[in-house]
């Protein structure tokens, strides 16, 4: 790309600064609520750090609630979902991008169709199904549902990315004697790392913050995942806002850490010199 002039730098930075301000202000408000004493959602003060700030909410949430257990449960569920998502989406997306087989177009379309069911259509029958399959109070039920929520997008996303990688790369590998699977695994998959990152992030987020299904499936407080644990601070008219906000920040920290870690690969994954457009 051509050289960026100082004037362009100033413009880019000022645009990004506005975007950053708009992006983080509401989150700073959540932090404000979490360090405010008492349980007030609203406050007339616009100060981001209240005069009487305190970390009490964070202390309470760890001492009075089995937060460690909830975090561990969430990690267990989420990691399984991410692994399932990445493994299944990278393979299915590849096949949908590269092979012409009966049912290809139909699968692509019907993957999309599964995303169109409004929540009002799924909640009750999903519960009935899980209950009849004895999957209530198991993580298996949750993992299956979360994976299936995240997969359609991930498959599509992977497929779209593979589409941008020229066929010639695999053909070269096949001529060198690699099997079909090896060509995929050794050549194409590494090139698709930005899409893999997106798949992982997306699977992670769909499992990590979900609470509606989890609230239906898990009946034991020791089994809770972090978001339902968090929801237990929210009550009709008696929400413990301070705890709720503190909990939300705790939920966010692993997500932010993962974003920090993965976005590096989102950018650096390609050696595009080898790719001819």
């Amino acid at each position: 790309m051509k050289k960026t002039t100082p004037l362009q730098y100033i413009m880019i930075y000022s645009l990004l600064l506005v975007a950053v301000a708009w992006s983080i202000y509401p989150i700073l408000r959540v932090i404000t609520i979490s360090i405010r004493p008492g349980d007030n959602l609203l406050n007339e003060s616009l100060a981001l750090i209240p005069d009487d700030w305190t970390f009490d909410n964070y202390v309470t949430i760890f001492t009075d609630h089995p937060l460690g257990t909830w975090i561990w449960n969430s990690i267990l569920v989420t990691v399984t979902v991410v692994i399932t998502g990445v493994a299944l989406a990278s393979t299915a997306g590849y096949a949908l991008s590269r092979f012409r087989f009966p049912g290809r177009e139909a699968s692509l379309l019907s993957l999309l169709v599964t995303q169109m069911f409004p929540a009002t259509m799924l909640l009750l029958p999903l519960f009935i199904m899980l209950s009849n399959l004895h999957l209530i109070n198991t993580y298996l039920g949750l993992i299956v549902i979360y994976s299936s929520t995240a997969l359609p997008f991930c498959v599509w996303q992977m497929k779209g990315y593979y589409d941008t990688i020229p066929y010639s790369l695999e053909e070269a590998a096949r001529i060198d004697g690699a099997s079909r699977f090896m060509a995929f695994y050794k050549i194409i998959l590494p090139l698709a790392s930005p899409a893999l990152v997106i798949t992982a992030l997306f699977s992670f987020m769909s499992a990590w913050t979900e609470y509606i299904v989890a609230a239906q499936v898990l009946w034991y407080e020791e089994m809770f995942t972090l978001p339902i644990g968090l929801k237990s601070f929210q009550a009709n008219m008696t929400t413990e806002w301070g705890l709720y906000a503190a909990g939300a920040m705790i939920v966010s920290i692993p997500a932010i850490a993962l974003f920090l870690f993965l976005t590096k690969y989102l950018i650096g994954g390609l050696t595009l010199g080898s790719v001819k457009g």
Partner: protein
């Protein structure tokens, strides 16, 4: 199954053995391996009462080593819905449900609650205040441990003293007078710093006492709504005048605003329920005082809050030894020691008369005021009609407050709406089971034909080519392809197939409140109701606007930011993560924060508009159009990071050489963007945009949270939130299924059109 598993009557299946294996692997309870009976209790108790309940249960478990009690907290509405799903639809559910008496009617109509009169002796029942026992159709269904949920006047003695007042108001006239004295603009900047009175006045439950003080009541002896009368008009005017004429309440005030203002000492009086008082007693800004709602001197009537009994319901499938164990536990939890502890710690009103006579209770001024208030109150109706009436009052009342209806129109409207909703509540029960129904027959026939067709297609186009091969299809490649797709496909379709067909079947049925267990296929009637409802079209248009505006802004801003970030910039990593944050923080809290930021007086949005741009404050949440815009702004904020990430990924797939070559050929940046960036990003962006459209179309959460469930006046809805509000709230399962299916059909139509236009299934190279 082990004794610890919660299902009471497991359905035997052929796969039982396999499933038990899974169960052993995954079920937490079986890992404990202790031979105890686990009793499940679901409850909506807020944190302070939850603490007492935890203590009581722990003590009970100590003295009953064979019993383990599992408590599960859910919010009021959620606990009711979850209990209904579990008992009515799977014959399972917890052993006990704790909740307010207004659950009773619906639970009885659905046949999912156990009559209790034979499980207690006459002496045991005689010890209760009759109000503490909930009877319905001559059966006892609920044993109460508390009379509660009533509103009363909470006031801050310190703020009263500051203006020289030493007692709470005794008449509504005084309420206004005192309120004026206590409404203060301290720094003279035109913004009120302290309000005389705050409360969640836009919610009908909080309006009810005033309606009653003008002589109104919600229903007649036959449970028919009685909302169009002089009392309703006067009460509407009264509340509106408090705001517009006397100016003693904020223009905009929901529960949390009222609660925060009073709790931080910036409002002198608050009307709030028994559940909330404990919090204010502990607040450093509040010198707590409690008073009976002041008398209406015009009618001589006291404002009458609704009073609900809170207590225990039992699962109808309980029997044998387990039932005895549950009853014993209930007797303990509603017993004198338990009630005494609740009362002395939380100032609740015990239902056992003996406990009410104890000196600690008699000498507790808060409980005594509370009892006094309850004497002026009305028992909350327990029939299911009440829910229809609430749902009818809310939009009418909010329209009056919002100025789009006069009080007279509002009263007429709420009556008409209530009658309609009561009819909807009981729809379907008049279907004659023996009548010959052509439409139903056609539905059955179409279903069978469709299945035969689907199987035929599957064989011809899928199975056959894979096994035998057909011209134009490479068998080996195909098998490899299918093998790679199969695991993902099985996962996805395994989960959605059953819900899809279940919903489809129910949409042809009359399933509703009274027909949960004996519904039948009635044909296309529910679809007829959906497409003849003008609101369906109204919200359809709103949904289209919602989707188009949201997705366009997500994509435009997302791609723009991604392209900016694609420059080699110092500090890029940090900026990138800061921009992604709205995706990383759970939306159920950020959406609520946005709601707070849209507050008319104190929200950040209006303050910025005023100080930076010098604009007049905008009433974001009171005006229906503005409320919708507020929801859109929130959702745009939430959705940008996702599109930005996808676009960043997409930009990586574009070889730099292309730009270099284009630059050498003298292409302008805009030409480069149009000819290189856009076409090469397309394969990555189109799936994201398509799915973005789909998700946005059905995004119930953001609209719901920002508009607090559709406020004002149930107008801030998109289709999916509307069906949730209008259908599920009134248990119209058949109608909701048909409505949901229509949403699905329309969405499928639009997105498939979109995909064909953008050729999303084709490749770039």
């Amino acid at each position: 199954m082990r004794s610890g598993t919660p299902k009471i009557s497991p359905i035997k299946t052929v796969f039982e053995d396999v499933l038990i294996l899974f169960l052993l692997l995954f079920s937490f309870t079986s890992l404990l391996g202790v031979e105890k009976t686990t009793l499940h209790l679901w409850h909506p108790m807020p944190a302070p009462s939850r603490a007492v309940l935890n203590e009581l249960v722990a003590e009970y478990e100590l003295s009953h080593p064979d019993i383990s009690v599992q408590l599960l907290y859910k919010e009021n509405e959620e606990v009711r819905m979850a209990y209904m799903s579990a008992t009515a639809f799977t014959k399972g559910g917890p052993d006990m449900l704790y909740g307010p008496s207004d659950f009773t009617g619906a639970l009885v109509e659905m046949d999912i609650v156990k009559p209790l009169e034979n499980l207690f002796t006459e002496d045991e029942l005689a010890a209760f205040d009759p109000k503490g026992l909930t009877w319905y159709n001559d059966h006892l269904y609920q044993i109460g441990d508390e009379l509660g949920n009533h509103l009363a006047l909470v006031y801050n003695k310190r703020l009263f003293a500051e203006v020289g007042l030493d007692r709470p108001p005794e008449t509504l006239q005084e309420l206004v007078e005192f309120g004026k004295k206590l409404t203060i603009d301290k720094d003279g900047d035109g913004i009120i710093d302290q309000y005389g009175l705050v409360w969640n006045f836009t919610e009908p439950f909080f309006f009810m006492p005033f309606y009653a003080s003008f002589g109104g009541w919600v229903m007649d002896a036959d449970q028919n709504p009685t909302l169009d009368n002089e009392a309703a008009v006067k009460a509407f005017k009264f509340v509106r005048d408090l705001r517009d004429v006397h100016g003693i309440i904020p223009k905009e005030c929901d529960y949390d605003i009222a609660d925060s203002k009073f709790n931080t000492g910036t409002a002198a009086m608050l009307i709030n329920g028994a559940w909330s008082w404990a919090k204010y007693m502990e607040s450093p800004y509040v010198d707590f005082g409690l008073a009976v709602l002041p008398i209406n001197e015009e009618t001589g009537l006291y404002p009458a809050p609704m009073i609900a009994t809170k207590g225990y319901y039992l699962n109808p499938y309980l029997e044998g030894e387990r039932l005895d164990q549950v009853v014993e536990l209930i007797k303990f939890l509603t017993g004198p020691e338990a009630q005494f502890r609740y009362a002395s710690r939380l100032a609740t009103i015990p239902t056992l008369l003996e406990v009410r006579e104890r000196p600690e209770i008699i000498n507790n001024p808060i409980i005594q005021t509370s009892i006094e208030q309850v004497k002026h109150g009305n028992a909350m109706p327990i029939s299911p009609q009440m829910r229809a009436i609430w749902d009818a009052m809310r939009p009418a009342y909010q329209n009056v407050l919002g100025g789009s209806m006069s009080p007279e129109e509002g009263a007429a409207y709420q009556q008409q709406l209530a009658e309609q909703k009561v009819a909807e509540l009981f729809e379907g029960q008049d279907v004659d089971p023996d009548a010959f129904n052509v439409s139903a027959l056609l539905v059955y026939l179409a279903g069978v034909l469709l299945m035969i067709w689907a199987i035929y297609k599957l064989v011809v186009f899928f199975v056959q080519p894979l096994i035998r091969g057909v011209p134009g299809v490479q068998v080996k490649e195909s098998r490899f392809g299918v093998l790679m797709v199969a695991p993902a496909a099985l996962f996805i379709f395994g989960v959605v197939v059953y819900p899809f067909f279940y919903n489809l079947v129910i949409s042809f049925s009359n399933m509703g409140l009274t027909t949960v267990n004996d519904w039948r296929i009635i044909g296309l009637a529910q679809y007829g109701k959906v497409i003849t409802d003008t609101q369906f079209y109204h919200f359809f248009i709103k949904t289209i606007i919602w989707t188009v505006v949201n997705v366009s802004l997500h994509v435009i801003i997302g791609v723009m930011l991604a392209m900016l970030l694609n420059h080699p910039l110092p500090g890029k990593g940090i900026i990138r993560v800061l921009l992604i944050l709205p995706w990383a923080v759970p939306s159920y809290i950020t959406a609520l924060t946005w709601r707070g930021m849209f507050n008319i007086d104190y929200g950040a949005v209006n303050i910025i508009l005023k100080t930076v741009f010098g604009l007049e404050p905008i009433s974001w949440l009171i005006d229906p159009t503005n409320a919708f815009i507020a929801a859109i702004i929130t959702n745009v904020w939430l959705g940008i990071p996702f599109m930005m990430i996808i676009a960043l990924g997409g930009l990586q797939a574009i070889p730099q050489e292309l730009y270099e070559a284009a630059a050498i050929d003298g292409a302008s940046p805009w030409q480069q963007f149009k000819k290189i960036t856009l076409p090469l990003m397309k394969p990555v962006m189109i799936p994201a945009i398509t799915l973005g459209i789909v998700w946005t179309f059905n995004n119930i959460n953001v609209v719901w949270l920002v508009s607090n469930g559709g406020q004002p006046g149930d107008q801030t809805h998109i289709l999916v939130s509307f069906v949730y509000r209008a259908a599920f709230n009134l248990y119209r399962y058949g109608y909701a299924a048909a409505f949901s299916f229509m949403i699905f059909l329309m969405l499928a139509f639009f997105s498939i059109k979109f995909m064909q236009k953008t050729k999303a299934t084709e490749t770039a190279y």
